[in-house]
Symmetry: C2
Subunit: 158 residues, 2 copies
């Protein structure tokens, strides 16, 4: 199929131990507050003064905002050029250190498991470890995420 | 502390087996596309026609959008009236069924574990099962989430 020409990552292209590095993304206080106002309006996420007075000593990003920013980095790094068929879920998230206004985060991806589908030979599931760090090299969050990917079409169908 | 008067949920108030029901939230195609354009711009999340042509048969919400909507329901249901000290992480997410434009979701919360902190006697961690379902009663996603909560202040400090 000629329309597959933009796809660089099929299920077949993943190997345990592979490492990929995403680009980076800086988050502003306005973005932190805008996300949290919609989805996680706890005082330490949406209010400058309440954040400063909290145990965190300043506004911090909602953990869901951190995960969503990590997702965008992962989409831009490879998922948008992959045969992604969505995700059945996440095995674990750890929010290690707050993400604060002005922080710049990037993600390192490591392939942990490669599982061909038992019932559908045209696809398989990849377990990826996502490790986000900030501009100081400090870990801020990890995700162990599952992704389903289509297999590379057989040569006869090209 | 008089400023604690708005808090109805301290660590002490959780018991294994407790069930809480959130309100509900309806999501539009415009909201699905707006979220995904920022954080998860895969074709089946951001483009009406690409969604229709995909294995999903229509635009579906990013899994991170579904989790973020669930978070807002949980904040409104009880977290905003709790002694929440944030979350160390998530034990598992399962995206069971796509959330589509026009769907209305609500969440049932069940307390699974109550773990007093070993090192800090003023707090503890709760493991909650979040079960989201749509307007047809179909499960769409589950989250096993950790939350840290402060203990109720001793009477002598009131």
């Amino acid at each position: 199929m000629a329309s597959n020409s933009g796809i660089q990552w099929y299920f077949d292209d993943f190997e345990v131990g592979q490492v990929l590095q995403t680009g980076s993304r800086t988050v502003s206080e306005a973005e932190i507050i805008a996300f949290a106002t919609q989805f996680d309006p706890q005082p330490f996420h949406v209010d400058h003064d309440a954040g400063a007075a909290s145990i965190f000593g300043g506004v911090i990003a909602s953990g869901w905002h951190t995960c969503s920013m990590m997702m965008r980095l992962v989409v831009d790094a490879f998922l948008s050029q992959s045969a992604s068929m969505g995700s059945p879920g996440i095995e674990e998230i750890r929010w290690i250190k707050p993400v604060r206004a002005g922080d710049t985060i990037s993600v390192q991806l490591t392939v942990r498991e490669v599982r061909p589908s038992r019932s559908k030979p045209d696809r398989g599931v990849i377990l990826l470890l996502w490790e986000a760090s900030n501009q100081h090299g400090e870990p801020v969050a990890t995700i162990k995420g599952l992704g389903m990917f289509g297999c590379r079409p057989a040569p006869s169908s090209l």
